[in-house]
Amino acid sequence: MSFETASAPFPRNYSLEGPLNERAKQIGLANADWYKSDIPRPRMKELMQRSDGPATRDTLIWIGALILTGGLGAWFWGTWWCVPFFIVYGVLYGSGGDSRWHECGHGTAFRTQWKNDAVYQIACFMTVRNPTIWRWSHSRHHTDTIIVGRDPEIILMRPPELAKAVLNIFGILMVPQAWWAMLRYASGRLTDGEKDFIPEPERPRVFFVARVWTAIYLAVLAACVYLGSILPAMLIGLPSMYGAWHMLMTGLTQHIGLAEDVLDHRLNCRTMYINPFSRFVYWNMNYHIEHHMFPMVPYHRLPELHQEILPDCPPPYHGFWACYKEIIPTLWRQRKDPEHFVRRQLPATARPTPPLPIAVKG
């Protein structure tokens, strides 16, 4: 099956401050109507229902596991026994924090809003994502998913810089950049791209939180100097880096190598089946087509939503390897041939993707 994209020719300027932002608005790719599978309203209402139960249970397990593994890591500090505890602690902090940031940012994890807000603030700190900036950037990611010039969350642009992706397995670029951004916000500055999606009245919150975080990191730094040990930073700060690999492993499967500039999430998102531990850490975001098509559905109902729309979607991937054996060769080829991307095949039972509502192509 072939489908159209409305991408501009290469070299493509992915910046929100560049000309493709305006182009996307002019040709109807920005703020557009996206394809949705048909689900009767009563069933949709059931799937959207919120409850506090699953997220409270999962959050207690998550925090309990953080305390246990962090505590044992600290207890065994200075011996090799600390290593496995810090590996698990890091994943729960640096990668578990990412999915909690995401779900609580949508406000769907808990029914009670203050619980979403509380976990959101903690998870933002763990992932070094300013709560206000990232709430707005993620809103834009949902409005204009992988629309070049509009989506601030395109993590690998074409042609891909593979070295960056490899370094970010341990957050080597991403996290210091996030700390640098935190210092920039703490000094009261935003880039033009950030100003594009953050309304004026929201900006003081950005600066306030960045100042609080800077104070916390300074306290951690002072504790390290005082104790003559990096142990405090192993517990607060560094896990954003050494625990990021699971986030990257899951996050790269979401959109990488798929179509840009389409208006159908079945063509630019991947849904995959993964092991229960990763699903716990990732809070079911492996059902990524489902999440993008219906962001109102809480993470714990996504498996049901998946069954509901399965006949209308491309086949899910079975495991990480199934994704990466597609992603790695695609990225490799895109270094030389940036026009190349993976065209997802819709099954015979699916409704076709609607034509793009635009006049200009190429």
Binding site: Q49, R50, H106, G107, Q113, S139, H142, T143, P295, M296
Partner: protein, 105 residues
């Protein structure tokens, strides 16, 4: 000057739910609250013009289907980013089993 228009019958919207109502090129959302009352607001979210009738009613809140922005549909008050601009609300009355909204309000 009021302009009451018939939006639906009382039984058309389940409790704690919302329905879209289009009239004369305008779009509204009509709500049936868990305590049995009816309310009406503009039909489109103030953030990005998405139909609120596809969203979720929880108690007195309507959550937008696009970015989960929340409004109190009784007052139209926006309850937090990315819903920052209040919704316009309209008076509602029930007569002979029908729900009317005053679209001139």
């Amino acid at each position: 000057m009021s302009e009451w228009v018939e939006a639906c019958a009382v039984g058309d919207i389940a409790e704690e739910d919302v329905m879209r109502f289009d009239h004369a090129g305008r779009t509204f959302a009509v709500y049936h609250s868990p305590d049995g009352k009816y309310y009406a607001t503009d039909g489109l979210c103030t953030h990005e013009k998405v139909h609120l009738a596809d969203g979720l009613v929880m108690d007195n809140i309507i959550e937008c289907p696009k970015h989960n922005g929340r409004f109190d549909y009784r007052t139209g008050a926006a309850k937090g980013a990315p819903a920052c601009v209040n919704l316009k609300v309209y008076p509602v009355k029930i007569e002979a089993g029908m729900v009317y909204i005053d679209i001139a309000a």
